[in-house]
């Protein structure tokens, strides 16, 4: 591959590396402390989870969901109140809270998909509606969460007796090693299968170089985790969601429809795919993920107030666009937006550790988003014309 092609294909990955190195130097290495590395993903759990849903919405044609911050707050508020006021157990609380997220999803999906209310307006209305309802549920107070089972489900760390001690959580390294080996084995088997069937595939050196880099990153990350409390449970939840959505968007017919509708809605309809259903599912799944994020955020903060999740929609939308989702719909990948979300997270955390004032953090984030989208539009414009 030529250098220019390589740079183009992996722009955001390269940007991530550059930004990471930059902030590591700026913070004199504090960014790579075990605690900070461990917290990087946890702090941005809601962004990573919601970006998956937002990707579906954006794929359908550059549409976004503005209501997710409010949905997140409402679902968190309901969960907090059920446990605090009604003394409900963790499991029924989670089920009821998620049921509400599903109802919100059906509500938005129905109006947008089947009644053709423009997504921007419908979700703007939702943003006010659910924010207001959340405050009603909270009775304008801050509600603390003290249910141990609930908290443990989301914010504890995996601790294997005998393997893990206070100083070193070896389970993280073990898991890391297992995952790395599995990844390698899976790649080898997959390549063998494809070769047997005579399908085209990537040249072996490139494919294995990629896997080795990925394995190295996983190992470094797991070593860092082992130095600070071990594997967080929340990380598993994030991985679960991200892997499911990566699978749906890249491997299933259901996922393919989101790209088709965003690429050309009329052609998609004439190909026997119902665009209404596609819109419905995009917004329905988005709300469900927003509700789930509500549980994650509520557990992490340990309390819920009426302003929880304010402007979180912008983080999710921003990650998608930084991660290369097209503002016109029809293209973007879960892998890409995860890189976008982590990039945004590194910038956030780097600035916080460095001690940049809040107001300047906004300026930097805005500039990064704009630059990312300009880059996307300009490069697409150039290749699109040729």
């Amino acid at each position: 591959m030529k250098v220019s092609g390589f740079v183009k294909k992996y722009t955001m990955t390269i940007a991530l590396v550059v930004v990471f190195v930059f902030f590591t130097m700026l913070t004199k290495g504090k960014l790579v402390y075990a605690q900070n590395i461990s917290n990087l993903l946890l702090q941005n759990a809601y962004v990573l989870v919601m970006a998956c849903g937002m990707l579906l919405c954006i794929l359908t044609g550059g549409n976004v969901d503005l209501s997710v911050g409010s949905t997140l707050c409402l679902v968190g508020a309901v969960a907090a109140q059920l446990m605090d006021k009604n003394n409900m157990g963790a499991l029924p609380t989670v089920l009821i809270a998620m049921a509400i997220a599903v109802v919100i999803g059906i509500w938005q999906g129905f109006w947008i998909g089947y009644v053709h209310i423009p997504p921007f307006i419908c979700t703007l209305a939702g943003m006010f509606l659910f924010r207001g309802l959340a405050r009603v549920v909270l009775a304008a107070k801050t509600v603390n969460i003290s249910n141990e089972a609930f908290l443990n489900t989301f914010i504890s760390y995996i601790n294997v007796p005998g393997l893990d001690t206070k100083e070193a959580h070896l389970s993280a390294i073990v898991v890391g090693a297992i995952v790395s080996v599995l990844l390698l084995v899976f790649t080898v088997i997959n390549r063998a299968k494809r070769a047997k069937k005579g399908y085209d595939q990537e040249a072996a050196p490139i494919a294995f170089a990629k896997i080795i880099i990925a394995d190295a990153l996983i190992m470094v990350y797991c070593v860092k985790l082992s130095q600070y409390k071990g594997i967080p449970v929340m990380l598993l939840w994030i991985l679960l969601v991200v892997l499911i959505f990566a699978f749906i968007t890249s491997k299933t017919a259901f996922g393919r429809y989101f790209y088709a509708v965003g690429g050309n809605e009329k052609a998609t309809k004439l190909s026997g795919i119902d665009p209404r259903k596609v819109y419905f599912w995009a917004y329905c799944l988005m709300s469900i993920l927003a509700g789930f994020s509500g549980l994650l955020v509520a557990a992490r903060i340990g309390s819920v107030d009426g302003s929880m999740g304010n402007s979180y929609e912008m983080d999710a939308i921003g990650s998608c666009f930084i991660g290369g989702a097209s503002a016109y719909g029809g293209s973007g990948s879960v892998m890409g937006i995860m890189i976008g979300a982590v990039l945004l997270g590194v910038i956030n955390q780097g600035m916080s550790i460095y001690g940049l004032p809040d107001e300047w953090q906004y300026v930097v984030k805005g500039a990064v988003l704009l630059v990312a989208v300009i880059f996307d539009v300009v490069s697409n414009h150039k290749t699109g014309k040729a």
Partner: protein, 513 residues
């Protein structure tokens, strides 16, 4: 134009092309898709600015270096692109002076705008008011508005890129006659066209381009050139047959029958678009639908294809003798229908997606397991197979469809619907805007289909193609079926006659062919 060379990444679009056009002549540019006709004209009109190509343009003996369209328009060179550049929500007059507004003391002088516009409309023979919105007039008239717009810019050299590709025969003739009229008034024009009969009719000189190079310039001052002579230059070989021969194996089984089919306009529901149409299609048969623009052929086809067009649809649709009620496109596909749209870019393909992914779109479940998980390598292999079978020109099936030429896009669209494995294939203008070679290949594919016992419905505005390919031809006019001819009895004159006389006495299924 001398030694023009234009490079695109990886492709030499133009290679040392020379073109000489004399004042006051009509010069035709012909060639297969991707031969470089449009690129050459974009260089001449400044759409491709000076510096992005090499070579030189001499106009009236002076060397020109156009940085943009405005530069060339100042000298009276105006290009009308194949895709019309009119704003549908603005009036004819507003469109005509868009970017060239008639300014008064305070803002735009609307009286001046509309009186000028009316004058130019008269020159092109349009009777519509200059205040009519573009979206309210048909494509044929829109083309005329584009020409009127060119006139308003004091055009001396008019470039037309496939002006008649979306016009019916009548409108095309009118447009060509207008060019001849302007010629007598001293205007020079360059016309790009795939319709050789038109080229022979209108052009004084014909330049043939092939693979980015000028092959020859043929003199046609007598307007009597043999079409095969042009084709020979275009494809570099002689196409002995314009239409591939086919052994006719029509069986008696009726695969599709439609009875008393009526469709109303989706928005203006009181307007009937298809009126009481009945027809039959046998196994292994190709039937054609002829008619003018707006005759209701596309609307008939789309409404039959899972009601994807229209409202208040009534009538009966039978497949293999059984009545079917197809309410969605999905049901239509599952019942063995396929509709290949006339507008591949808007209704047919996802241009920003790859060939492979477009190929499987209408029947994605065929490459999925029972859990809906796509077998991507299999999908790619299928696309490769179709690429070979269709002779689609692309380095890889991972290419985005938007990067292909029109003919190759059409092949991808056909592949997509062949993959859906239909019993009845409805082709709506399958050869619009594609070159002779690709047309021939598409005809071969149609023959292949019917040889395998499938059936084809072909909608086309080009009479020779209907006559060359179809076993029976139905004629429509203003939503009514006004005639039916078997291959033996049909002639251009009879069909045109039926269209012109049509609308007065609807004929329905007079006899079996």
């Amino acid at each position: 134009m001398k030694n023009i060379t234009k490079l695109y990444p990886g492709v030499k679009a133009l290679d040392n092309v020379n073109l000489e056009v004399a004042r006051g002549e009509v010069h035709a540019l012909v060639g297969e898709n991707g031969a470089g006709k449009s690129t050459l004209m974009n260089v001449l009109s400044g759409t491709i600015p000076y510096g992005e190509y090499t070579g030189s343009i001499l106009y009236d003996g002076k060397e020109c270096q156009f940085r943009n369209i405005n530069d060339s328009e100042k000298l009276g060179i105006v290009i009308i692109h194949q895709e019309l550049a009119l704003v549908p929500e603005l009036s004819i007059g507003e469109n005509m002076f868009l970017g060239n507004e008639r300014k008064g003391k305070m803002g735009i002088d609307w009286d001046e705008t509309y009186s000028q516009a009316t004058k130019h409309l008269k020159d092109v023979g349009l009777k519509d008011k200059a205040t009519t919105l573009i979206k309210d007039i048909g494509t044929g008239k829109q083309q005329l508005v584009e020409i009127a717009k060119a006139l308003s810019k004091n055009v001396k050299l008019l470039i037309l890129d496939e002006p008649t590709s979306s016009l019916n025969e009548e409108d095309s003739k009118m447009l060509l006659d207008m060019l001849l009229k302007f010629k007598t008034e001293g205007m020079t024009s360059i016309i790009i066209s795939h319709k050789l009969s038109e080229v022979a009719y209108v052009a004084d000189k014909i330049t043939v381009l092939r693979d980015g190079a000028t092959i020859e310039t043929i003199d046609n001052s007598g307007h009597n050139i043999d079409e095969d002579r042009i084709i020979k230059g275009m494809v570099g070989r002689e196409l002995t047959e314009r239409f591939p021969a086919r052994e006719r194996k029509i069986r008696d089984d009726v695969v599709m029958e439609v009875k008393n089919w009526s469709v109303h306009h989706p928005v203006y529901t009181e307007k009937t678009v298809v009126n009481n149409v009945s027809f039959k299609l046998h196994k292994g048969e190709i039937i054609g639908f002829s008619g003018l623009q707006g005759a209701g052929r596309t609307e008939l086809a789309m409404s039959l294809f899972g009601r994807s067009y229209g409202s208040n649809i009534s009538g009966k649709e039978f497949l293999n003798g059984k009545e079917v009620h197809l309410h969605t496109e999905r049901e239509a596909i599952e019942n063995g229908l396929a509709y290949v749209t006339e507008d591949r870019k808007t209704n047919g393909l996802v241009l920003i997606d790859t060939i492979a992914r477009n190929n499987t779109m209408a029947r994605l479940e065929k490459v999925c397991n029972k859990y809906g998980i796509i077998d991507v390598p299999m999908e790619n292999k299928i696309a490769e197979d179709y690429k070979k079978a269709m002779n689609t020109k692309t380095p890889t099936v991972q290419q985005h469809v938007g990067n292909l030429s029109g003919g190759n896009q059409q092949k991808v669209l056909l592949s997509k619907w062949m993959f859906a494995d239909p019993e009845v294939l409805i082709l709506d203008e399958p050869t619009r805007g594609i070159d002779v070679g690709a047309k021939y290949e598409i005809y071969c594919i149609m023959n292949d289909m019917v040889n395998k016992g499938k059936s084809v419905i072909m909608i086309s505005s080009e009479l020779p193609e209907l006559l060359g390919m179809c076993d029976r031809i139905y004629v429509m006019n203003e939503g009514n079926l006004v005639g039916q001819f078997s291959a033996e009895e049909a002639t251009q004159e009879k069909i045109m006659g039926a269209i012109l006389k049509g609308g007065k006495e609807p004929v329905n299924e007079r006899k079996e062919a």
